[in-house]
Subunit: 426 residues, 2 copies
Amino acid sequence: MFFKNIKILDEFFKIQEDMSVLIKGGRIVYIGREVPENTEEVYEGKNKLLMPGFVNSHAHTPMTLLRGYSENQKLQDWLVNSVFPFESKMNEQDVFNGMMLGIAEMLRFGIVSTTDMYFKCEEMCRAALVTKTKFNISNGMTCFDGSRLADNKSYKDTENMLREYHNANDGAIIVDASIHGEYTSNPDIVREMVEYALKNGLNMHVHLSETELEHRESIERRGKTPARYFSDLGVFDVNTTAAHCVWVSDEDIDVLAEKNVTVSTNAMSNLKLASGVCRVPYMMKKGVNVSIGTDGVASNNSLNFLEEIKLFAVLHKGVNYNPEIITPEEAIRAATLNGFQAQGRKDSGLVKEGYKADLIVIDMDKPNYYPAHNILNNIVYSSAGSDVCLTMADGNILYKDGEYYTLDIEKVKFEAVKSVEKILNK
Amino acid sequence: MFFKNIKILDEFFKIQEDMSVLIKGGRIVYIGREVPENTEEVYEGKNKLLMPGFVNSHAHTPMTLLRGYSENQKLQDWLVNSVFPFESKMNEQDVFNGMMLGIAEMLRFGIVSTTDMYFKCEEMCRAALVTKTKFNISNGMTCFDGSRLADNKSYKDTENMLREYHNANDGAIIVDASIHGEYTSNPDIVREMVEYALKNGLNMHVHLSETELEHRESIERRGKTPARYFSDLGVFDVNTTAAHCVWVSDEDIDVLAEKNVTVSTNAMSNLKLASGVCRVPYMMKKGVNVSIGTDGVASNNSLNFLEEIKLFAVLHKGVNYNPEIITPEEAIRAATLNGFQAQGRKDSGLVKEGYKADLIVIDMDKPNYYPAHNILNNIVYSSAGSDVCLTMADGNILYKDGEYYTLDIEKVKFEAVKSVEKILNK
């Protein structure tokens, strides 16, 4: 694959015009001004921008099946009366169908890699495998009694995933360890999960202080914040992505920075569920690696990542009364490189020779990109989500100009609807 | 034009499936299940939704030319060092070119009618006229000395517009009166402008308490808030749209409600410029007519209206810690009917027989609209801006599937870039 005459967002986050980029064996093998001979597939890049694909650092992808289902209500009512009963009826095929629908949407919106936490995870791996997408997948471990890890469903699912799917598709699929949250765990099983992750060299994925209630109850229950609880149990000695972090304290943020925990901020979901606003600028100032997640579609309600990036870039200006915080470059880094780093994908996230070709193309011919005083500003502030016109992982084109290359979009929509009908009629 | 097998958002904001809608003479003449004979133009509406077009109730459309220009800085620095010097070099042709670019973007994103305040307004009218779009256009009157209205440039521009363009294109173009803001006016000229508006039966368009500084300085300067200042001078005896209203007091909100002033909230611009968050739910509770605006593209930086609607629907939940406020129906009303009402377009904003055909079609076949538990939720929370696939004003198709019917998009982009190059090289 040879991108010709294309703009690129280079490794220094500067725009270069009229570049040649050659992809071979899933990697970027050449960036420059030369035009190689005998190139099989040529992509004319006039007025298009090649940049790193987006990393969705916190998702529950199969929840697409719940999009728009029974909402605009209090978090607890919505969970207990709508989400949990719906999910209890989701079988393996439903998880697969929801996952496929989510992947279709992600590809449309330029997401090439996702850190996901859900259940029946082998089905999620299967969908990732057939679509050639990148996923860090974990089963969100919960334990409501004193039982041990070996008896835990999540552990068994993780064991199966590890055996069948870990590093599948040349490393596209990575199995993570996960502890769902402080309030759904006990210290013994957390310690066991940490040991398990360290032994198997896995990353860790947790929810952390999403709501004021969760944060406060942890202090009441354990005499410490969720971050301190996890830290004391060694969770952060594993490479961890902590989702939400809306209510973490200053001291918690110091711990996250010190332990190199990646925060996945989920601004849209936190607003919609009325959980609050994560203190992203303060975290960045303290040196925390901040990435961007959508959370599940049931609370977002889309996987429109350019929309999420714009919200990331403007929301913190507004609530901090400071128009200078969060630059477009910082927003793009959070949406790309920072997420790849957290996933343990060290050679993804830059348009750089030797890096994996996990890339997207943005169609800058759309009127909303004119004039082009500053292309970084335009990408972050002026995009429509679907201005992504090509999505590629490991050098494979997965989506181009509305067409999907590794899934049958009509079948995916049909099967998702069938799952929903089955679940609601049960 | 005959829409066949189409979903509609009906006048009660409910979804009806498989409807027939007939447009004649710029109006909706039939909604039902029948299929009329001898219909010339048929639009197959399978899995598409016909709904009212969006009203952008506060814009400075020609500012598209400044998109992404010198930003991420303090409001005052940005205005004084970047915006004002740029604007001072904009001649008539530049205003026209910026306007055309903005119209192209609006049509892509489903905006059919805009309340706009800028300068060199005859050029704006000319662009509205040739593109058959709907605009309420005003010249934002400023006065920094004690001079009279008759000597004011804005007044002269308004007089010319009134003579040449008021009610042109069968009422598509409406000329409004305008007072730019409290801080750029004096009481005498405000009184004169009010008289002028009342005499000519015009609407009024003002900026109101956008920033804390503006609000506080008015109290220091005049002993009253901007809203009280305008109210005491009779401004609100004219049908008024007040933009921003971020810092208005409880008493101000009572005045806005009592005087039937329409608030145009500009959430994205207010966040990006770090002005704060308008208290929309409180205003709605008090009975204020709230509509949605983008503000100028220089501070938004797009005219992506579905993005603005989603932000409207989630932001206030988040900052008020209440997931039940602002329902999808309220968000759509604010984006459509409430804006048309403010513009004085009493027979636009509903899919209803006899109403003007100011309509859009949304392509619900996109993966982000699956499943369809609740179509209103999906439209508000799950749309990408460009899922609008048809935009129509007065029954004229202006945009369909990426094609423009009343403008040459390549020429529009070319001319806008030419204007920018000229301005920056001056």
